[in-house]
Amino acid sequence: MRALITLALCCVGCLCCTGCGAPQEPWQVPAGFPALRVPADNPMSAATIELGRHLFYDEELSANRTQSCASCHIQALAFTDGRTHGVGSTGERHRRNTSTLTNVGYAASLTWANPLITTLEQQAHLPLFGDEPFELALESPQQLVERLAARPELIDLFERAFPDEADPLTIFNVTRALAAFQRSLISADSPYDRYLAGEPSALSTSQQRGLRLFQSERLECFHCHGGFNFSDSLDHSGMPTAHSPFHNTGLYDLTDGGGYPQRDRGLFEITLDERDRGAFKAPTLRNVEVTAPYMHDGSMATLDEVLDHYEQGGRRIDDGPYAGDGSGNPHKSDFVSGFVLTEQEREDLLAFLRGLTDTTFLTNPQLSDPQLSDPQSFDPRLSERGTSDSRRSTPEKASS
């Protein structure tokens, strides 16, 4: 039945694209999701999203032409890379695990622990030009602009995306388009979403028990991974100000009193406030099943290990340079206090987390490399999604 409805909606979308007279919204978020906060100087449009998609998958964006954004943000892995640490185009290893881009347009801050980077336009400078570490390792904005200028098909996309500009091929517009595409990476079609939308069988009985555990005060998960996006780092147009907290989850407690490894001290590196040692953003748990390994440093291979960590109220490391009992870290969040799970409860919780996997998002050709899918299609998915999701209840309310 669901397949039939989807097929019917797809047909409606196609008909509208090809000829119905009513003007369509160029882009819209799913019903039930709040409107994104979009910078005034970068309004969303199908054309900017499409340009951003082309750029996102383009290896010309790395100095040695070996990597694109998608090299470390692979759609099938919810735009992560499956590695413990990302590896840049020069071979340099990143100190951190690659963040998912699932619903990244709702994140109050970008990267794992940086309250100063709040827009995707701003964040784009890190992988493009950053050298600590090198990622795409471009030498200069001019280098990129000159490369792109030699690509007539891209010039055309720039002109469509920024039709009022005499010379739209600028680094500013590169960052705007990349940001627009990333804002369109919205995951809202998991079994959990369908369950909220009035399809009780979308979550198994075990998953429903897991959901209740997840939302319980006993486990405390929802305090940091709450709301419709399962992350308390949240910003959208309905919020007076962004909510951008960071948490120390007791992964480490080195001998110097609450210390995290020198290689990565989290929020402290930005604020230089002692209380911020070891604090990181709580990432969204949507699609968490496919984003292993976990934690900011990729130091946990499985969700089972993650549950062990939270069950113990922190991680104990007995040997080696990082030996210490993270449960005693003085900067640890009060919500990481530990709990005891039965085997069945553990199974239920893991089953629920798997219920956040959105296969539509992971396989949608409209989010994939345009060279591998129809390059002419300008975003019918978004209208389809908006129409289809208009039948749903509000996940944010239901999960809070």
Partner: protein, 260 residues
């Protein structure tokens, strides 16, 4: 009459109207590196040495100081210059000066004003377009970037301990006023910087507890001697406090580094 008074008032109060005619003297200052180890016979041992100076002024021998309007170009705007010593090569700063007599020192801020420091690099112009100087993870710029080959030793000076968005408030702005003594040359004036002093400071910290990398964290052992206004290595880099080596080479006019 009222119109004439108003016109005179406007002329007097407008910065260009009142001052532009006075900036009629082109002054060139050549900035050289004095370094036996980093720029000696074995070739440059520096991966990168570059720094931003802003709001420059020239101080005359009689003590009068007035703004030095820089010639805009790839490495400078009117108020900001990026001194980039690629391959240990000297750099020249050119600008218009309203002073009289001979300039005796170049006074400027090491660093950038807040509005520029936290501006969007995608919309930047001139020297601010250099991505190697953009400190993207600190949402600002590196005021000074010093790295030896393969980044074995590294010093990035910039604002740290920042919070907030508009405006960004930084606990450690790390801007400072520098005053570089000038010497007259046939082509204009010249001054010197002493990168061996940065090298010495980083080596000293590495011998203690550090790893030879200072990223402007005051509590970092590697930064002990480098951060303004009191970091001795930085002061010596600008020649404001003579090291034993400098003192033995030749007498230098007084230079300064102060808090700004």
């Amino acid at each position: 009459m009222r119109v004439r008074s108003l016109a005179l008032l406007l002329l007097a109060s407008h910065p260009l109207g009142s001052c532009s005619a006075l900036f009629d003297r082109e002054v060139r200052v050549r900035v050289e590196l004095s370094s036996e180890e980093l720029c000696g016979d074995s070739g440059p041992q520096i991966e990168r040495l570059a720094l931003f100076l802003s709001t420059p002024a020239l101080e005359a021998t009689d003590g009068d100081s007035s703004r030095w309007r820089l010639r805009p170009g790839p490495t400078s705007t009117r108020d900001v210059v990026l001194l980039d010593f690629e391959g240990c090569e000297a750099v020249e700063i050119v600008g218009a000066w309203a002073g009289r007599g001979d300039p005796a020192s170049l006074v400027a801020t090491l660093g950038l004003p807040d509005d520029l420091n936290h501006s969007n690099p995608a919309l930047a112009e001139g020297p601010l377009t250099d991505p190697a100087m953009h400190w993207s993870w600190q949402a600002g710029y590196k005021y000074l970037r010093f790295e030896t080959l393969s980044s074995e030793l590294l010093f990035h000076l910039g604002a740290t301990g920042c919070r907030g968005l508009d405006p960004v408030d930084c606990k450690h702005p790390h801007r400072s006023e520098v005053s570089l003594a000038l010497r007259s040359t046939p082509r204009g004036w010249s001054t010197q910087l002493f990168p061996d002093e940065l090298l010495a400071a980083l080596r000293a910290s590495r011998r203690q507890l550090g790893d030879g990398h200072c990223q402007s964290t005051p509590s970092d052992a590697d930064c002990t001697d480098l951060l303004p206004p009191d970091g001795r290595g930085l002061r010596r880099f600008f020649g404001s406090e003579a090291s034993a080596a400098q003192a033995s080479s030749e007498a230098l006019p007084a230079s300064r580094v102060g808090h700004r």
